[in-house]
């Protein structure tokens, strides 16, 4: 009881602080200085129509690299803690069969989902979307495959391969930016091209595709491990 009272008292303090934040918030009329620079100079400098993409991939590209690293670390830790069941144990389990409608529907839908994910991350500099969204969509596609065939296991090798290759290529393109352009993860190692077309914005589509593949592979690995976790520690 005392504990609950203490908790409520602390929360009341936090609520008071947050109320202060809310009361002192006034709306800005114009963009802040940094954002104004990005909005005025960004489209000509980088050639990307989606300003969020240019911030994520180039201006703040190092943060994105750190974020991908966090995802990789999380996937590794989960792999360390949850050991997968073996193939024989998977066969010994007896989940309820999936229906034929689900099988057919998934076989029809999964290629469409993959293509849509690829569209989302390749067109990330023109339309909303990009590596994270496309990666999540691709992970959802693999998840649908897991759901339709609960007994299969495999695909680990492919997931690891895609993850490693795209990670190495991502860092490689970043280092190429040091030598061929102005700095790490600069997208102008390729010509910026005509504004608003698919082959524009330098290396942004390539970098975002690599991020998409890596995020998709890592999220798939996390889901795979949570699905296949063995019962006993």
């Amino acid at each position: 009881m005392v504990k609950k009272l203490v908790a409520i008292a602390i929360l009341a303090g936090i609520a008071f602080m947050l109320y202060g934040l809310f009361a002192s918030y006034t709306q800005k009329e114009t963009l802040p200085k940094t954002s104004r620079y990005y909005a005025i100079k960004g489209p000509d400098e980088l050639g990307s129509a989606n300003l969020v993409t240019s911030v994520v991939v180039t201006y703040r590209g190092l943060d994105t690299l750190g974020e991908v690293t966090i995802l990789f670390t999380v996937a590794s830790i989960i792999g360390f803690f949850l050991r997968s069941r073996t193939k024989r144990e998977a066969r010994a389990e007896n989940p309820r069969e999936t229906s034929e409608i689900l099988h057919t529907g998934v076989a029809f839908l999964v290629p469409i989902i993959f293509v849509f994910g690829a569209y989302v991350f390749i067109g990330g500099h023109l339309s909303p979307g990009g590596g994270f969204q496309g990666g999540a969509i691709i992970a959802s596609g693999t998840l649908l495959l897991f759901l339709a065939q609960p007994k299969t296991s495999g695909g680990h090798t492919l997931i690891t391969f895609v993850e490693s290759v795209s990670g190495i290529a991502y860092v490689g393109i970043g280092i190429a930016g040091i030598f061929l352009a102005n700095g790490f993860l600069d997208n102008r190692i390729l010509p910026v091209g005509e504004f608003g077309t698919i082959f524009s914005a330098g290396a942004i589509p390539i970098i975002y595709s690599l991020i998409g593949l890596k995020v998709g592979a890592e999220l798939s690995a996390i889901l795979y491990k949570l699905k296949d976790a063995k019962e006993d520690a």
Binding site: R96, S99, I101, L102, G105, F108, L109, I112
Partner: protein, 113 residues
Amino acid sequence: MNTLHIIGGAVSILGALFLLLASIGLIRMPDVYNRMQAGTKATTFGTIMFLAGIGIASPGWIPKLIVLVVFIVLTNPISSHILARAAHFAGVPLADRSVTDKLAEHRQKAGDK
């Protein structure tokens, strides 16, 4: 331009009325299976009508709207099917007024538990 807006708005209102019907069915129907019936069929049609209205009002958007409609038409029946199947396997009872249960007969014949 304006005429297209009015026609599109009318079609959209029709679709929205179907969505409303679906929700009323969701509340009024007696058991899960009937609710599913109301909840998926009427909403599929209602959403298609709604999107058609928007497409009439701004014709440049039609390709993306067609993609959206195709996805809805593909995914919605699958989800309703597997949900009904799951509810049946989990033992959710039918309403008192229901008269046939073909899946239960089939499972009895097949010797399922």
